[in-house]
Symmetry: C2
Subunit: 198 residues, 2 copies
Amino acid sequence: MQIIERLISELEKLPGIGRKSAVRLAFYLLSAPKDYIEDLSDVIRQVPNNIKECPVCHNFTDIASEVCDICKNKNRNREKIVVVAAVQDLMAIEEAGYYNGLYHVLHGLIAPLKGIGIEDIRIDSLLKRVKENSEVKEIILALTPNMDGETTSVYLKDILKEADENIKITQIAKGIPVGSEIEYVDKMTLIKAMENRN
Amino acid sequence: MQIIERLISELEKLPGIGRKSAVRLAFYLLSAPKDYIEDLSDVIRQVPNNIKECPVCHNFTDIASEVCDICKNKNRNREKIVVVAAVQDLMAIEEAGYYNGLYHVLHGLIAPLKGIGIEDIRIDSLLKRVKENSEVKEIILALTPNMDGETTSVYLKDILKEADENIKITQIAKGIPVGSEIEYVDKMTLIKAMENRN
């Protein structure tokens, strides 16, 4: 296969990139500045080996960092923890620019039908944070409102209340269209859903 | 900047990739198979240094190849040459799967207002092919039907007739919506436009 066809076929394997987009990207790359080609190629290669989960909240962070930028940031409100299923959800909430507390990334949702149980997602470390950290006053559940999200929310409410009966547990409002991914919700809807948490 | 933010920001520079798509691609790459990451990173880095123009038709080809795969292919009909402005247009026509002749890629269109003249695109080598090659019976002009495309078509018709008065010069039919890029036309429209060339 000629090299340009190889580039197109590798680009086509990316999610959401069809043949036409892959061709367009390939031709852009053909004539892109050399520095950009180097930077892009390097960062793609480096990322998988230079990322780890933050030991506190399980956000992704650089391998050399002790904790992630959010956990490290002294200006964040340490009384609140938003619980999300994935780092993408955390990023969407960050971009909305409304929330200034901490996060906890579960890296999944409880899904008995898919064989994903309590021990497969980052629940233990959330309980540990709540138990060992008297600063935490509120846990805000921001899980996609589908079956797995609801199952996980119900379970978390029970177990968190058990861990600390004084803790406030809220859920972001169902302003979010049921079935849609938090990652793709527009900023205003996300802000409304955060404000109306209950 | 953390490495994942760097990856997202490099991906965002690609044409047609917004912030959400860049985030989605970045997270896909985070957990993609190691082999794929290596292949993608390598091919992106290699392409700009390993591509040249085919000395016959100006299609892109590997640096080590004498001519491109189409010029090399003994099963292609050497009596017809489709003239296109860009390699992307050649690829779109190839994918439609209707045409089995040769190509000539101009790498641009005559555009006096943009300062692009006759000598800036690959017209000389097209004339040379026609003059030196008695096999060529038909030149099919497949240029985007906008002002620059029409200017170039008119000029090519004159100069090609001068070079060889027996040559048949056709133009792909204006089934193509005026103003749209050939690269993005659907296959059936493209086939119709090829069939109805006049």
